[in-house]
């Protein structure tokens, strides 16, 4: 009997990998049909699972309800990322009091191999960001590639410790739709802040 179960399991394994995903996708479909809350262009359609700096697994749709400000970085980065972190900090500082508690500032790692939850935690502490509204996320290489594709962020590993990447800060409204992207380092963030405020006011 055991043998049959084993054989059955073996067969199942072959079929499961994709089916599981479709289940998830249809699951998302159902949700959007029922509540009509997840729109076609929402990143909450992505079924990927992410881990935050506290080791907690989340799906993107768990972030629903806040305005999201996202940037892709890696913690061993010496050149652009510290400036991107500074840009994020500046944006957060300039946000009016009325938006506090409604905006989630998120760093997504493009180097999930190095950036373990522990590493992200340490990085958050170093930068005094281990508190709200800051979140640090990592996932599998495949999910990271997919997320970068959604953001139109390009990145490439140059050496085990070094990536080249585009510097884009993205703003998502409460429905998870991309509403604005700031490109470049140390650029004027006024338009980004305006768009965050607008997204908050539409909540």
């Amino acid at each position: 009997m055991k043998t049959y179960i084993l054989v059955f399991c073996m067969l199942c394994l072959g079929v499961m990998s994709c089916k599981q995903d479709t289940k998830q996708v249809t699951g998302v479909n159902e949700v959007s049909k029922q509540s009509e809350e997840i729109s076609d262009m929402s990143i909450y359609n992505l079924p990927s699972t992410w881990t935050n700096q506290n080791g907690k697994d989340i799906q993107l749709k768990d972030l629903k309800g806040d305005v999201l400000v996202m940037v892709m970085i890696y913690t061993t980065c010496k050149a652009a990322c510290p400036r991107l972190v500074a840009d994020m900090r500046n944006i957060e500082k300039q946000l009016p009091e009325s938006t506090k508690g409604k905006v989630n500032m998120i760093f997504v790692s493009i180097d999930p191999e190095t950036d373990t939850p522990e590493r992200l935690k340490a990085f958050a502490k170093e930068n005094f960001m281990d508190e709200e509204p800051w979140t640090f996320l990592r996932s599998s290489e495949q999910n990271t590639r997919e997320f970068a594709a959604v953001l139109a962020v390009k990145y490439k590993e140059i050496s085990p410790m070094d990536f080249s990447h585009s510097n884009i800060i993205s703003v998502f409204n409460a429905a998870g739709e991309l509403v604005f992207q700031q490109e470049g380092l140390g650029v004027n963030s006024d338009a980004t802040i305006q768009n965050i405020e607008k997204a908050v006011s539409e909540m």
Binding site: G14, T22, N45, A80, R145, A149, K154, Y155, E183
Partner: protein, 259 residues
């Protein structure tokens, strides 16, 4: 008892190979190796592991079968996040192509998300840029034919030929590995196409990699002869994952089973 177990395992394995693998017939074993791509890590050797590659690009017929099985990828149902309005624009409806299209032509007007999902549902994946370029540097005789004058000329003459996307798959000769149509039919999606940073933006806001800065990209390229590859990299750098393009299709690859 043990004998029975072995036989059962054997049958299960065979079934799996027949149903999911198809590696023997439709996929070819690509022996890994090292090569210098047009843009590598600072133009050093890139290592490619052994893998299996589809002999042919995915056809319209195969994609019809796919959307029948996974309706969420039909043209009226696909999420706009995953494909813009051009998705399957040459289809009459969710499961039928326009009468001008041929079932044995390569599927095009598919987004990166759709192509990725298709491969995933076959138990496969899209090739990386490095894998694709590694196989594509072969001609009929050599694994690396990039030094040959005719290699470049052939590919460039195809780039000049119009409407090759309407041809049927499999009409080009097998390359060194037995793979067909990498050149001469349609361009193909790669899993990490968004690792190419030679776009407008790379001039202003990409850090570090001077290799990929627009002006110095041409100078930094390791193989100035390979103008065709240069065009491919430039194309990859210019598209985003939601795009569906007339002459852009895909094929899948599979990792070697871990022994």
């Amino acid at each position: 008892m043990f004998k029975k177990t072995y036989i059962l395992f054997g049958i299960a394995f065979l079934l799996q190979t027949v149903v999911f693998g198809q590696t023997n017939k439709d996929m070819l074993h690509i022996q890994g190796g090292s090569y210098i791509p047009l843009y590598g890590r600072d133009s050093v050797l890139v290592k490619v592991n052994d893998f299996f590659m589809d002999k042919l690009p995915v056809t319209n017929q195969q994609y019809v079968d796919f959307v029948k099985q996974y309706p969420e990828w039909q043209k009226s149902k696909v999420k706009r996040l995953f494909a813009d309005e051009m998705y399957l624009i040459n289809w009459k409806n969710d499961t039928i192509l326009n009468h001008t299209e041929r079932l044995e032509s390569p599927i095009t007007y598919v987004s990166w998300f759709a192509a990725s999902k298709y491969c995933e549902c076959q138990g496969k994946r899209l090739p990386t840029v490095d894998e694709w370029e590694y196989v594509a540097m072969a001609d009929e005789e050599l694994a690396d034919a990039r030094v040959k004058k005719t290699y470049n000329e052939k590919i460039l003459s195809w780039y000049e030929a119009p409407r090759t996307n309407t041809y049927e798959v499999g009409r080009n000769p097998e390359n060194f590995w037995g793979v067909k149509d990498l050149h001469g039919l349609v361009w193909e999606w790669t899993s990490d196409f968004n690792s190419i940073l030679i776009t407008g933006e790379s001039r202003k806001d990409v850090d570090k990699d001077t290799n990929l800065f627009c002006g110095s990209a041409a100078v930094g390229a390791t193989d100035l002869m390979n103008y065709a590859a240069f065009m491919r990299y430039a194309f990859r750098g210019s598209i985003t994952a939601r795009y569906n393009i007339k002459n852009l299709g895909f094929r899948c690859v599979q990792d070697m089973p871990i022994e």
